[in-house]
Subunit: 381 residues, 4 copies
Amino acid sequence: MKIRLGMVGGGTGAFIGEVHRIAARLDDRYELVAGAFNSDADRARQSAEALGIKSDRAYANFSEMAGAECARADGIDVVAIVTPNNLHHAPAKCFLKAGIHVICDKPLTSSLDDALDLKRLVDETGLLFAVTYNYSGYPMVRQAREMIRNGDLGTLRVVQVEYPQEWLSTDLESTGQKQAAWRMDPAQAGPGGSLGDIGTHAFHLAEFITGLEVKSLLAELNAFVAGRLLDDNAQIMLRFANGARGSIWASQVAVGHENGLRVRVYGDQASLEWFQEQPNQLKFCRLGATAQFLTRGGVAAGSAANSASRTPGGHPEGFLEAFANLYRDFADQIEAFKKGKSINDLGLSVPSVTEGVKGVQFVEKAVASSENGGVWLSLES
Amino acid sequence: MKIRLGMVGGGTGAFIGEVHRIAARLDDRYELVAGAFNSDADRARQSAEALGIKSDRAYANFSEMAGAECARADGIDVVAIVTPNNLHHAPAKCFLKAGIHVICDKPLTSSLDDALDLKRLVDETGLLFAVTYNYSGYPMVRQAREMIRNGDLGTLRVVQVEYPQEWLSTDLESTGQKQAAWRMDPAQAGPGGSLGDIGTHAFHLAEFITGLEVKSLLAELNAFVAGRLLDDNAQIMLRFANGARGSIWASQVAVGHENGLRVRVYGDQASLEWFQEQPNQLKFCRLGATAQFLTRGGVAAGSAANSASRTPGGHPEGFLEAFANLYRDFADQIEAFKKGKSINDLGLSVPSVTEGVKGVQFVEKAVASSENGGVWLSLES
Amino acid sequence: MKIRLGMVGGGTGAFIGEVHRIAARLDDRYELVAGAFNSDADRARQSAEALGIKSDRAYANFSEMAGAECARADGIDVVAIVTPNNLHHAPAKCFLKAGIHVICDKPLTSSLDDALDLKRLVDETGLLFAVTYNYSGYPMVRQAREMIRNGDLGTLRVVQVEYPQEWLSTDLESTGQKQAAWRMDPAQAGPGGSLGDIGTHAFHLAEFITGLEVKSLLAELNAFVAGRLLDDNAQIMLRFANGARGSIWASQVAVGHENGLRVRVYGDQASLEWFQEQPNQLKFCRLGATAQFLTRGGVAAGSAANSASRTPGGHPEGFLEAFANLYRDFADQIEAFKKGKSINDLGLSVPSVTEGVKGVQFVEKAVASSENGGVWLSLES
Amino acid sequence: MKIRLGMVGGGTGAFIGEVHRIAARLDDRYELVAGAFNSDADRARQSAEALGIKSDRAYANFSEMAGAECARADGIDVVAIVTPNNLHHAPAKCFLKAGIHVICDKPLTSSLDDALDLKRLVDETGLLFAVTYNYSGYPMVRQAREMIRNGDLGTLRVVQVEYPQEWLSTDLESTGQKQAAWRMDPAQAGPGGSLGDIGTHAFHLAEFITGLEVKSLLAELNAFVAGRLLDDNAQIMLRFANGARGSIWASQVAVGHENGLRVRVYGDQASLEWFQEQPNQLKFCRLGATAQFLTRGGVAAGSAANSASRTPGGHPEGFLEAFANLYRDFADQIEAFKKGKSINDLGLSVPSVTEGVKGVQFVEKAVASSENGGVWLSLES
């Protein structure tokens, strides 16, 4: 019995909507049965048709959809929200109120107040809520986390995360390119530009992989492209709760990089390096030993990586498979929920509304630090 | 309207069967509705159930399945055959006779006679037949082929293909490991060991990418593991019809390699290098210029690569997406067939029964060359 | 006629002394004829003998040496000072006063006052003074600088420099290891640990390659090894005079790195990346184009790189050749000086006392920033 | 007391002569005191002057030089012969007869008869003779050899050596480029083109690193550039005495490669890979374990590598240092010879006249194999 999935946003031509659909399909756990794919009713209908959605479940907007679906016996179990940042909060709230689980793209919302509001509602309803910090779905990211948990690196000292991209090196938002336009529009994206789009991924991974909490940060944000309203380059220093130090560099004016997310963690016993563009390997160096390259599916891969893999070593898995791992884990959570079981027992690593809130807080604090000339700000509430 | 797919072999736990299913699912063009998943009837039924196949379409064997499906109004359009090499010919023949298109794993058969028999039948019936030389589904492999077709490399001179793997470095077939057992059993695999399993991929890619035909070859086959019945290391020299020279090294005793397929092509104007374990890039060097790295989704990617891509540059796609590209292209062929159109107009690059025959011929000639002490043999009929 | 060279420090077993000697020898421009190789007179004599120095020019200390050499008709033209940081100022001053040119290892001194004192003396005497920021001797570093000067990168936006090493991840200074002992002793090293040892290289390269000046910095220094007296990890944010932003990460507790100096520069038209452990290549990416790898000796290498090369492309040159380039350029300066010519006309890129002063200022400002909790400090005098 | 060195060939502007001189200088063991640098007497004199050779030891030709030097009390100990292949035999013979040790560039001679003649003379005179198969001087090449000797790889199965270069992809020899002109002239180079120039390096390394002997070979030689008189592409299959198999690919029409010598050795316990353009690392994979990267100067480097190193790990050494290692080892041999000690006790790895003979035999057999249509030929006498 497949899980019934609905979608808000993600009409034909949208990048991330199609990614969510492939991710849902890959392991055959979901069935896409309903959607409000576009704010324009005609386009919404066309997208639904192209996606094989029956006409009575092709909705003009999310509130109509939430109402109708929660009234059906075969209504959706879960909705995926894949709209711009400022359009996450309202539908997420609406579906939670209708008793429907939520998968929401990141960052969770465009303001911390909205994020906290959703967290409150999740706590109240007890419903499941996933935020697609999808890079945490990569097998070797999970391997890294597992190794650090196992103590393989010893006490952590330094965490370096970078996420350079080239694509906003010019004033793309003024050319009508839709992906650029909303990301650099404060009304749609919130206060962070590259910070919200990719910096939040970097921040999430820093905490996800290390298991450490960032205690305070100092940020230097710049908009290098003339006329740009939001940051396109962010340099951030991090102090972790255990005394470790770190930095994040997120840039969308880094000519030559496609999607260059890289995480390096140094402990007193060993270090790890993972690079998103070659995601099937993990560099691992023990103190006083030669560097090793662990591989997905290889002999050193542990259970966290293996349970997130579909093929043997040497058969590259990528972005879509990693994304699908979040969907697969969330399917397990939904199945457990249906059976009245606690999802905590599953030991799954799906970022939740809690991580969603932290990501939005990260954006707001970084903006505040930078606006104050680059000062240290605490992330502790 | 999805294409109705059946499967022969590929019961629970089989590696390649699951790969075919994911590939079929990725783009939502197929629906798996029938299967004879195992030669053991009980297991066949269990696999069918686990895969959500209705009980009346879970068959005990392929001939029963072919008979029943061709009699149904909603019978399968196409069957995927994912059994060991020696069990390709009989079901393929049976389904072709039943008027059903075939997707067959490689190598096509375990003997050239069988291969030619299938080719005859395909020619007679006019049905569609794909052989899953899946590496040709990688976007940057298709990019390489397109660039060579466009003349970007000039006249080709040297073609170096290698396919090293470690996994059969020990006598794995005696341990009960199933994947090893049938591959090193002449009765199931045919006359080639590593030659048939991976050498045929290398050979296919050499011709697929370059557009050249191999005219003659000389092979040196070895079984380095004591007691092994088929080759685990093959070194082969190639002479191409245009005068180019080349070599293939296929090895399953190459410690340290997971799935190290690598193709390098040198022309008088430029060269190309593609490596399966980092499949999203293509090294390209023009004569007298600096080396470039072209990327899938990047600025230099042409239509062949782009039409085989699902995500932007920097978002790694891998083995499953490449496999799915063959399924997607074959879906286009089936749709065209239904409409009575020629598939030649589609310009698609699905390896057919013709490439299947060539692969089997390659195996037989290489074995003959080696058995005769390493002599040159013509591949021209 | 070779240049007559003397040396202070660098007795048998010293690392950097031998590097200076090989560098001086490589192009046959110098002859080592005198030395005060050790503060212990016996050892000094033994080292001199082992190095083939005549006994009357094997001195017990630098002041004796300066006096004797400046009195000889065949006295040394130049002295190389290769002692710990705190022992640079006195001998440098002494030789300058004796009218002898100076090559001094970095950092110039262990205090800014000392550094400024030397600068004053150089200005007064008009003598030549080199500080061996040796990484600026690499051909592809010079290529990078030349390309940026030529405008190939457009307006610079971001400069990322990192210099991770593993070797001080444990309390090596307490084990009696001499290299560690003086580097982590404030009395010998000055106020910076990793900051002075490798951070100054990073800082120098940042300015050398980009041609930009750092206007202000903010530093976070840590000593992760218990009991350590100086920093072993430094994270520094940079603001450049033209508005560009940057960062330096220098660490000697970065497990897995040997000598991982890496410089990345991003402009609005292109970017560059250079990595010291693979120094013969330079990654170059134009906006909206594929990544290229320029090589030393390759087709894209310009005059700055070529004049610093000794072999064709593909024949790796390394650390010693780069070091020798400083010696070679300084030999040209000395020859010009002898002929009364201006060294400015030579267009050479030997770091001088000016760069030496900036390096020491960098250390002092970074320490001050960190001690004040991580605040921005101006580097403008 | 330095060793007195003379040189035949290598006048100003010659590539390899200058390499020999730097190599001789690097460790301060030699003094260049005499030379016949050019067949043109005027140029020979000019080169000598530029190199600081006294006029009475600047000779017009090698026979004059051999006569004069062996008559001097301070005559040269050793001569380096750096002329084109066809001009190795006569001077080598002449200096051996004059009682002077010889360092000869590779290949030893342009015919096997000449090579055997020199070997006979070396055996008769008992003098020292080095052939500069310089790639054997790389620390990590020696590390590879040591590991194989130690049994770290188990029984060797496959040896893959390749040596691709681009530089003769066009008809460079017709443009007046001197390096190309003599290398593609059978009268000067002998019967092998790329075979003699680089194939011999590949062959030597295959035996040097593995300690195995090649028993027979089969070669396919081509001259892809129209009008070229010697091979520019060589593909060779190897059978080793222990049953291992291997191949050599040497090409000078391989667009995109500068000096891409790569050696891979596979045993039943582990494998090794070394690449000349990144010579400070060695990839090492144990059966069933993760890949490791051993580094020069790193923790896993053994005595063979360490004794051939001058700097710590992470400080790249390159082509010149490797070349210098042969000179250094040969200096040790000469010192031992002077003291009447056996050089065998030194455990040094300088290629001798024996390896020189094997290299020439390799060329002749490969040419014969190819001329006979690609047949197996024994290398056993």
